[in-house]
């Protein structure tokens, strides 16, 4: 048999179900955010680690023009080197009949004798090419899927200037191409860039690399010094046109994957704790108010002889019931969303398998924090009431000390109606409650700002990158360097309206003891297509001498305009020179260094050469141009910036949008929960007063306004505060997002604030309507029968 007190508990829960549910939802949102954010990041990190380990992803990477195979043995002898694999790796244009725009692929050799030792591919279908087979290839699975290729499908490629027909015998995935990015592309585009594995003998023959290699992969022994090994490898490979070995940090796929995971981590490290704290605060505040409302009942229970403990336990159970519902809902939603998010990113990265890592400690923390917040809130309120003598508790909480204040002169001066005076006095009379409501609503706005801002920032980044900086329609990357005359040849192709050369040189830049790998990109004095922007986002001239460093690179090297940096050329004669920093420029992607193309050519002492050319195209003649480009032996890759942009947006839409939408949705739930509870509790507190006004002849609309104007004032006052706090969240998140690969500019535009406020105001309106409906049903007579 349930005790009378427990029955009261159940009835209270049933009676207050919309409020109890709203509180539980706020808690659930806080719990879910933490679980999903931390869970998705942990799962993806774990998956990546396992993938790298199982497929023996290399630690050090190097490219050379041509090095004899025997060199590999010398490298294997370096201290700390565990395994070495040599191979041939080249980027080449493809000729795909079903696709007008040019596509490229990176061609990677597979050993003819024995198995791969490093960067193992995971075959997804078919088999590997037979040793020496010149036409058999394995292609990356996403590339095959993007083109609808199956085993037996054929396509053409221009290898070293010769067009060959290739047959697909298998599809595969590899840890080194998780993020398969073409040069000058921002997002992997599986249609325009793929990975093709071929027999070593066949690929070497195509590029005249028999008995030699162009790529070197090394796996280090545990505890080996990466930098020492790299230095040694560089020394050995220098005579063979080594461009400088590098670690995983500078491996394209790894670096991008890392940046994505860093972002995900920033999301899970910054947003969820904020959500959780906000939810906890709100739950604490709301429950405290709810229990204060029970004051008379508590007094009565005590008068009847219940002990403080019994009364306290009763309310603890009430709160615990709500908290447990919230925690259960939140854990379920968080697990579901976290798994979904992990799948989504897993698909995007083409991981061959996924490891779901939902650690129990996250659940414990999430549930524990919310539960504690709820119980502390309840206890605080309950002990306050329990401590009162029953007789005092049964009388209403003395609203006795309404005093005349300065505000009253204002009322008088403004000739405010008494109903407005009621609203104002009520707000001022309970400062803790009003302030709590204000802060609660402000926090709701702020987490929305914290969720929404990245959209605006990314739009801003896109605008800066594609409208102001990289305005070219296409970029052609040559195979090696070409004479400057190549630019004129390209400019004569159909549909080319303007051609602008660039020269790119791999370097190491040093200042004091900080060193970074980067590329110096040489551009014409006043570039028109691919422009460099100053910190005011206006295009700048290339400096006559010296370098223009992106602000991120300058910050990492801790240099300013006027300082000098040491530049070690990783091509040509590999001199080390010192160069002045002529200016610091804006850049969101990568560590960039720019110079005048003349400066770069003088530096390289190789005459006027170019690495590629940026184009502006006549859109109506695209097809004709593409047809020509596919056959140009000089080109290895054609980037199409407009296509890139579309892809960038599409991928963003998929990943970021999903992510942010989840957070925004949870934030909206929190916003609604806060505002609804605030309004509902105000109604409980003032219901009697409002009903007696109805008796006096006030209309429903009039008394609704008394209650809702209070809410409206708080909601409006809370907005600027919410924007401010939200901006703080955005600052924290932008800092968390930052990686050396890219930086998300902190742009919180007016739309972000407007949307955040709109959601909160919308939540307030809905809550207002619900409360309004309750006001309409106020029982006038019941009120008159009871004393206050």
């Amino acid at each position: 048999m349930t005790s009378a007190l427990d029955r009261k508990l159940l009835r209270d829960l049933v009676r207050l179900w919309p409020q109890a549910l709203a509180i539980a939802l706020v808690m659930a949102a806080g719990v879910a955010t933490l679980i999903l954010g931390v869970g998705a990041h942990a799962s993806l990190s774990e998956t990546r680690a396992a993938y790298y380990e199982r497929n023996r992803f290399s630690d050090v990477f190097a490219s050379v023009t041509r090095a004899p195979e025997r060199i590999a043995a010398r490298i294997a002898e370096i201290d700390g080197v565990g395994a070495v694999e040599t191979r041939v790796g080249k980027i080449a244009l493809l000729d795909l009949s079903e696709m007008p725009e040019p596509a490229s692929a990176i061609f990677v050799s597979l050993p003819d004798l024995g198995e791969q030792t490093l960067d193992l591919i995971t075959l997804r279908s078919g088999r590997t090419p037979l040793p020496g087979a010149t036409r058999e290839v394995v292609v990356s699975e996403p590339f095959a899927q993007a083109h609808g290729y199956e085993i037996g499908s054929t396509f053409s490629a221009i290898l070293n200037g010769v067009k060959r027909e290739l047959t697909i015998v298998g599809t595969a995935l590899s840890p080194e191409f998780v993020y398969a990015l073409g040069p000058w592309d921002l997002m992997p585009d599986d249609r325009r860039f793929g990975v093709v594995w071929m027999s070593r003998a066949a690929l070497a023959a195509a590029y005249d690399l028999e008995g030699a290699f162009s790529d070197l992969r090394v796996r280090l022994l545990r505890g080996a010094s990466e930098s020492a090994v790299i230095e040694e490898i560089d020394r050995i490979l220098a005579p063979y046109g080594g461009e400088g070995a590098h670690g995983r940090k500078d491996q394209l796929s790894h670096a991008f994957l890392d940046a994505e995971l860093t972002q995900l981590q920033a999301m899970s490290r910054i947003l969820p704790p904020i959500f959780l704290v906000v939810a906890a605060f709100l739950v604490n505040m709301t429950l405290a108010r709810l229990i204060t409302l029970e004051r008379e009942q508590i007094g009565l229970l005590k008068a009847l002889g219940y002990s403080n403990l019994a009364v306290g336990m009763h309310y603890l159970k009430f709160v615990a019931a709500i908290a447990l519902i919230g925690a259960a809902l939140g854990s379920a939603a968080g697990t579901w969303l976290g798994t979904g998010l992990t799948r989504m990113y897993g698909d995007f990265f083409h991981f061959p398998f996924l490891i779901f890592q939902m650690s129990p400690s996250v659940y414990l923390v999430a549930v524990g924090v919310t539960l504690a917040a709820a119980i502390v809130g309840a206890l605080k309120a309950a002990t306050g009431v329990v401590r009162l003598a029953p007789a005092v508790a049964m009388t209403p909480p003395a609203p006795a000390r309404y005093r005349r204040t300065l505000l009253d002169r204002l009322h008088a001066a403004l000739r405010m109606p008494q109903s407005a005076v009621m609203t104002m006095r009520h707000l001022v009379r309970y400062p803790a409650r009003s302030l709590g409501g204000l802060v609660g609503i402000a926090l709701a706005t702020s987490i929305l700002v914290g969720s929404f801002w990245s959209f605006g920032s990314i739009e801003f980044m896109i605008d800066v990158t594609f409208q102001r900086s990289d305005r070219q329609d296409a970029t052609i990357t040559f195979v090696g360097e070409r004479e400057a005359s190549a630019v004129q040849e390209i400019a004569r192709l159909p549909g080319v309206m303007a051609a602008e050369p660039y020269r790119s040189v791999p370097v190491k830049i040093r200042a004091a003891n900080v060193e970074r790998r980067a590329a110096i990109t040489g551009k014409p004095d006043d570039p028109d297509l691919s422009r460099v922007l100053g910190s005011d986002l206006a295009p700048v001239h290339m400096p006559e001498t010296g370098l223009a460093l992106s602000d991120q690179l300058a910050a990492i090297l801790r240099v300013e305009t006027g300082d000098v940096v040491e530049v070690e050329l990783m091509a040509g004669d590999r001199r080390t020179v010192t160069m002045p920093v002529a200016m610091v420029v804006e850049g969101y992607l990568g560590l960039m260094a720019y110079a005048d193309i003349g400066t770069v050519n003088r530096l390289m002492r190789e005459g006027a050469l170019v690495s590629g050319v940026h184009l502006s195209l006549d859109e109506t003649r695209r097809e004709a141009l593409f047809a020509e480009l596919k056959a140009i032996p000089a080109a290895s890759f054609v980037a199409l910036q407009r296509v890139s942009l579309a892809k960038f947006r599409e991928t963003l839409a998929q990943n970021l949008l999903t992510m942010v939408s989840i957070y925004a949705g949870l934030a909206a739930i929190i916003a609604f929960g806060v505002v609804y509870n605030f309004a509902r509790i105000s109604l409980s507190e003032q219901g009697r007063e409002l009903a007696s006004l109805r008796v006096l002849g006030f209309t429903k609309a009039e008394i609704s306004w008394i209650l809702l104007s209070e809410l409206a004032i708080l909601v409006l006052l809370a907005q600027p505060l919410g924007w401010l706090i939200g901006y703080g969240f955005a600052v924290a998140m932008a800092a968390g997002f930052e990686s050396e690969l890219y930086r998300v500019p902190l742009v919180v535009n007016r739309e972000v604030y407007a949307w955040a406020s709109l959601v909160v105001v919308g939540a307030a309106l809905v809550s207002g309507l619900i409360v309004r409906r309750r006001i309409d049903r106020l029982d006038l007579i019941a009120v008159l029968k009871t004393r206050e």
């Binding site: 209403p396 003395a398 609203p399 006795a400 000390r401 309404y402 005349r404 109606p417 008494q418 109903s419 005076v421 009621m422 006095r425 009520h426 009379r429 009697r688 007063e689 007696s692 006004l693 109805r694 008796v695 006096l696 002849g697 006030f698 209309t699 429903k700 009039e702 006038l780 007579i781 009120v783 008159l784 029968k785 009871t786 004393r787 206050e788």
Partner: protein, 240 residues
């Protein structure tokens, strides 16, 4: 005043009935009440607890609707009025006084009265109303700073400030000692006399009946008896 023409009827009910249904149980609060009251009349309603007095007063005050029967205020059919019409009726014509004063705690005495004068058609000044109930010197005090009797008098001031045609009081002295109760009754009779507001007062105190023109006794949801007082007493002459 012309003695030949009787004062006009203000309230008229015919076969007024009210049934409360809670689940299976039906409670017949009123079982056919026929009642009339003229302008300026002072009527006291007596009757045992649960006999339907409050239910009756609430219906003619426009706070509730009958289950069947008719209730008229002048030419307003209260039993068939919409919610909005009832609200307007209360706002324009009725002054209420309840046992539990129902003042707004966040407003001072004067402001509580002003609450009504702001929405009334021909109100008196709040100060005037408070003077009538003898609280001219306590106008800026908040309810919590006033005694029960004083609060009740503020409630009366609030009820009369709109110059209502009818004043409906449900146990206005129920929570007061007799000395304070007298002050409240005195305020009520003065308002009744000076403004001619038809006044209905529910009480459990048979002694109070002596101050009325007419006494109506309720029992079991019906009017059991009506007595007219040949001679009325002044409030200060009754004690309980």
């Amino acid at each position: 005043m012309n003695v030949e023409t009787p004062p006009p009827l203000v309230f008229r009910t015919r076969a007024l009935a009210k049934v409360y249904r809670t689940g299976e149980v039906e409670v017949h609060a009123l079982r056919g009440v026929d009642f009339e009251a003229c302008a300026g009349e002072f009527v006291v309603l007596l009757g045992p607890s649960g006999s339907g007095k409050s239910t009756f007063l609430n219906i003619i005050g426009g706070l509730d609707r009958p289950t069947s029967g008719e209730a008229w205020f002048q030419d307003h059919d209260l039993s068939r009025s919409s919610d909005a019409a009832l609200t307007a009726y209360r706002r324009d014509h009725v002054g209420f006084v309840f046992q539990f004063y129902n003042l707004v705690p966040s407003l001072s005495a004067r402001e509580n009265v002003r609450l009504v004068t702001e929405i009334a058609r021909h109100p008196m000044r709040p100060e005037e109303a408070l003077d009538i109930v003898g609280l001219g010197d306590r106008m800026d005090h908040f309810p919590a700073q006033l005694s029960g009797g004083e609060q009740q008098r503020v409630a009366i001031a609030r009820a009369i400030a709109k110059r209502p045609e009818v004043l409906l009081c449900d146990e206005p002295t129920g929570a007061l000692d007799s000395k304070t109760g007298v002050k409240v009754l005195d305020a009520l009779t003065r308002v009744n006399e000076s403004f001619g507001a038809t006044t209905l007062v529910i009480t459990h105190n048979a002694g109070i009946a002596a101050i009325a023109h007419r006494v109506v006794r309720f029992a079991d949801g019906r009017i059991q008896a009506v007595e007219t007082n040949a001679a009325r007493l002044r409030p200060e002459e009754v004690t309980w």
